[in-house]
């Protein structure tokens, strides 16, 4: 009896030693990969930051209005955001590679799925960023044009344009990520259609006078309008 127990313990001990002997090098390799990844990520962040500062991305971002949105969301500047993203993506990639070295079968499957998903996440982020930048630029263009033309609802017009482009960008982003593809498209179609119909009805019924004035301004006698302001030149 005692002999059996001792043999069992010996077996467990030798298995443990064998497992540790097998696991420890892999663990050390994983740690090394993660540490090297950290170093590489730091270097990449530095290089990207310098390159982006040289290309004056922040100025472009400021001009397009994207910086304003980042500020509203309490996010750092575009250069900082991108360089930090590069850092985290690089390091995360190294961590995943390191984890795969451990050889845990179920974990490996999840990791490979995650790696396959990464490009789509990148594209989704890019779509969202472009959507926000375009929405800001166009809404500001509309706001300035409407204000300078003396339009009474300049802000509403500007926000409508921003809202429609945001909705479009969010829909495209979710579709890229493959999240509820059919639902998102249907929801977008319904929201967009309803908004347009609502605007058309509102303009037609509530804004008859405005519509008449607008049409008169375009097709009617404009001589009277011209004299309301002195010639600037």
């Amino acid at each position: 009896m005692r002999q059996i127990i001792l043999q069992g313990l010996e077996q467990v001990y030798s298995n443990l030693v064998h497992m540790v002997a097998e696991f420890l090098p892999r663990f050390l390799v994983m740690l090394s990969i993660i540490l090297i990844g950290l170093l590489v990520a730091f270097v990449l962040r530095y290089i990207v930051r310098v390159l982006l500062r040289l290309t004056k991305l922040d100025r472009v971002s400021e001009q397009s209005g994207a910086t304003g949105v980042l500020r509203m969301a309490h996010l750092p500047s575009m250069t900082e955001l991108l360089s930090r993203s590069i850092f985290w993506v690089t390091w995360f990639g190294f961590i995943l590679v390191g984890l795969s070295v451990l050889g845990v079968a179920s974990l490996q499957e999840q990791i490979s799925r995650l790696i396959r998903f990464l490009p789509e996440v990148f594209v989704a982020i890019l779509i969202m960023f472009l959507g926000v930048a375009i929405a800001n630029f166009l809404s500001r263009t509309a706001l300035l044009a409407a204000v300078n033309a003396g339009h009474p609802s300049a802000k509403i017009l500007s926000w409508s344009i921003r809202f429609v482009i945001w909705i479009l960008a969010i829909t495209m982003t979710l579709e890229e990520l493959g999240l509820g593809r059919q639902t998102v498209i249907s929801a977008f179609s319904i929201v967009f259609g309803a908004t347009m119909l609502g605007l058309a009805i509102a303009f037609g019924l509530g804004g008859q006078d405005l519509a008449r004035k607008s049409l008169e301004r375009y097709f009617g006698d404009t001589k009277k309008e011209k004299n309301k302001e002195p010639q600037p030149l």
Partner: protein, 437 residues
Amino acid sequence: MVDDTFLADDLLRQLMSVGEVDLLVGISPHAAANNISPAVNVIEQAFRQHFVRQRVVIVNMGASNAAGDPDGNPVDDDVIAAGLGNLAVRNARFPGISSLRTIHRVSANFSNPPSPGIALRTILAIADLLRARACAVVSPATSNLTPDSIANLLRPIYQEKFDFVAPLYIRHKYQGLLVRNLLYPMSRAVFGCGIRELIADERGFSGRLAGFCLNQEVWHEEAIRARPEAWMAISAISSDFRCCQAFLGEKSQGMKGAGTDIVEVFRQTVGTLFWCLENQQQFWLDLDKSQLVPTFGPAHELTSEPTDLDRHKIFEMFRSGVTELEPILSSILDPETHSEIKNIVSLAEGKFRFNSDLWVRTLYDFAASYHHAVINRNHLVQALAPLYRGMTHSFIAEHENSSPAEMEAASEMLCAEFELQKPYLRERWKAKVEVKS
């Protein structure tokens, strides 16, 4: 030697038959002008009356289909090409006046009206090729162009050895407020040279200045394509060319240039001025004093017929503009300036005044923000329009009963304010703009 490759073969052929000239007058393209014959006739009269012995050429920059007789009927191409080269015909048409020289006429024959930048570049290239000593550009849309006004543009260059002649006009007291309150005082303070009509359809320049401007690498710039006049004047100032002003008479309503669309006017004039500030910063950043340029003929004159301006609407557009554009203005203006503007917006229309020091600081903030490109530059220039409306309202209210002398005095005070606050512009211009993290 200029790069003449952009000139069409047909145009070069016409130029070769002209040879060298003393005087050149270019007719700029203008959308409002459906025929150029009246302008050509006036130029020919100017040559006959004032420059009898000089070798002269008239250059038409309009589209080939824009030529016509005074009644708007198209003129045969052969007639245009031959021009008034035939002395007998010419003298028969204008008895008592004679010229000793052939008046050459050259037509660029663009299929569509070229942009002002392309038209000016073509005229400069022609002036350079023909070695013209004195040149002038006039607009066919100017209804009150006279032989004397053309002579006034050419004479200071040909006889007094000036290099650039800017026009001076009789104006209505409320006409040209963008010039009076922004373009003139700001350019005078910044570039140190008091040219009143920086942006005008008429101007004169020497062959030397034409060659200089032609060789500048700016012709691809949007600001120059749309409105090159201010750049030409500022180039002359900053490169030590001799500048002066000449009185041309009344400014016709046909000379509105960019039209009545205030956004377009701002893009083409204020946008170009800001672009010139950026482009010529090495010149003006260390410049302190300004000087007036010699003026031929009477100085700036004003008329004051009653007008039907809608002051209330102007004020409302200012007020709504400042309110609606608050986020944009906050990114352009200094917080203190913005706060002061918000304060005056809340005043009643009767009590509202846009003080000159606030106006100057506002413009300098805009210029510095344009330099730092804090937002899209086109948007930035457009955001100035509501503030200009505020200034316009304030000006009209203040000078409703002012005499021309009082208005001139106020204009001089505004110029002085611009000069006084120039260090503020320098400070903001040189300040590093950090994107907030």
